[in-house]
Symmetry: C2
Subunit: 347 residues, 2 copies
């Protein structure tokens, strides 16, 4: 087992360089995107911070892109090929679009085993069949040994809008219910355990899944369905904070309401990690009108990917711009964007 | 000056691993794509080896993707940001589509200077304005030091088909003229000279350019315009060989017909490189009906990016599946896919 300490908790200071924390999905990631990247693309819909943007104004076709750099490329429950298809399809799904097609761009490091490349591609092809998306174009680059990380895959997806309303924080109202679709934390812990060869690895399995079937099951809620987001890098904590940011309302959740398996609870506690901050690949957050929460939960519970969906909190006017959680012993604390958490190459 | 020898000419053998030659744009790149990657995506239009594929059957929207891993990221005449926009727009352009929008996915290595990131993004944003494409979505990943190559950008573009006929080898006929739009070899040599700090660098400048204005100027040729392709990795030699591959005809060119600047001629000769095999970022090959070659050249000559366009050869029934060149002293030799040529990270 290699030393784990350098993976997280390092002091964050501004060195004028990209740091690992910039890729964590937490506060620093947000800083990088908002302060460094977005200013160059003002006016483009990119700057609206959406997971998926329309090809042109008024188009019902949405586009999304994601780079997959997960290390190791194969782990229990998934691999980089499967992630590269499902992750991108999931971003379209939670934006209300049915995934249509995908492009795959590979950056491969010299020395990467051809057998592993084939294994990853076979898995991507199988995932594409499962999601019924066509791979319409691709690209392959090779970089010298020491200048890459084995295999990186960037997949870009286009989907057709099915849900007619925007699924954005702008439609959220006080009193809305916050639902988490499935047990959290398994993907991030699984990858970490596989990378570091932790003795706990046996019990863990990534939740990598194609979410469109579960997500679209909620579309009949119509305007009662306000917002959805898959909880990947930065976990549930990042998603909830993105929702409340610059909003006149906040979110109140309960610590013990979140679905967490015993395995994830044990391992994350052992490693000093908060399950709310760990990446998932098969979990989404849905905000629905308060009067529709039972119906939403019924729908999800009847679906294989939502069997363990839980109501975790509600939108509240009491704490504008903040996510507050009630702890098991009755206290209240702020759930912030993850800070200084260093789990690089988790997806 | 570092040793150049390891950059090319190494013996090619099958080690079961990805080798640098797999990324050269030459014979090995083609092997990798055709034998390793495509078999997994049979039935997807990906397997048709087009630069851009329709989003769905019958759609007039085409999609293309490209990873940019150029080293160094900044060089005379261009940079990775500019390449990432223009290169992807050019793939759409030569497919007969007007570029509409782009996604940008960044994979940044820990330690990469924020100032360089800003410089590359500013350049990408400026290029997007020049090409009138919107950046609709993006993604940012950070990989640990030693697991990346500074900055990689994968851009994916969608464009709307403007030219109504397929620009594919299937429409090419014996007697068609082969035109090269601009002087060749400057991009690849410029990047190589910048990377290796060659003393010749001063005279060289990348030709990175947005080709749609020049390409679309040929659209009025209608069915007389058969095929176009930008000559990037693998250079003119790869493009011509891709055209003739599995065709009942071949291409006959003349060595001294190709537009080559004195600088490129001198430097490539010094380095033992063939300008036909060097990457370009502002050059395309057009095949037009023989009776329309003068008109095509007139159109290109009146355009800033085609001022030095040249007729370089013609499609011939004499050498099916082969590109033959007549040398200056009157002999004939085969122009093959570049082999063993190692100019990694050239785009």
């Amino acid at each position: 087992m290699r030393r784990l300490v350098p993976l997280w908790g390092r002091t964050v200071k501004d060195t004028g360089e990209i740091r690992l924390e910039h890729g964590s999905g937490g506060a620093l990631s947000r800083d990088l995107v908002e302060k460094v990247i977005h200013p160059f693309f003002k006016g483009d819909s990119y700057s609206e911070l959406l997971d998926a943007g329309p090809l042109e104004k008024g188009s019902d076709l949405l586009m999304t892109t994601d780079g997959y750099v997960v290390d190791p490329p194969f782990f229990p429950g998934g691999d980089i090929g499967r992630l590269s298809i499902f992750g991108t399809c999931n971003d379209l799904s939670v934006s209300g679009a049915k995934p249509l097609c995908i492009s795959l761009a590979l950056v491969i490091e010299e020395g990467f085993p051809l057998a592993d490349l084939r294994r990853a591609l076979a898995s991507a092809a199988e995932a594409a069949r499962e999601a019924e998306v066509r791979i319409v174009t691709g690209d392959t680059k090779v970089v010298p040994r020491g200048k890459g990380g084995g295999l990186f895959i960037t997949s870009t997806g286009v989907g057709r809008r099915v849900f007619p309303l925007p699924l954005s924080p702008g439609r959220v109202q006080t009193g809305d219910a916050v639902i988490v679709s499935a047990p959290i934390g398994s993907h991030g812990l699984t990858v970490l355990a596989a990378r570091e060869a932790l003795p706990v690895a046996g019990a863990l399995r990534s939740d990598a899944a194609y979410l469109y079937p579960a997500v679209s099951a909620l579309f009949p809620l119509g305007e009662k369905l306000r917002f959805m987001r898959d909880a990947t890098r930065g976990g549930i904590a990042s998603v909830l904070n993105e929702i409340v940011q610059s909003s006149p309302w906040g979110i109140a959740v309960k610590d013990d309401a979140f679905p967490v398996t015993d395995d994830v609870r044990t391992v994350s506690s052992l490693l000093g990690l908060n399950p709310l901050e760990i990446a998932n690949e098969g979990v989404f957050v849905a905000l629905v009108a308060g009067d529709s929460k039972e119906r939403a939960l019924d729908i999800l519970h009847s679906h294989p990917l939502g069997r363990e969906a839980r109501l975790v909190g509600r939108v509240s006017a009491d704490s504008p711009g903040r996510v507050l959680t009630t702890t098991r012993i009755g206290g209240t604390r702020i759930v912030d964007f993850p800070r200084g958490l260093l789990l690089p190459r988790i997806c």
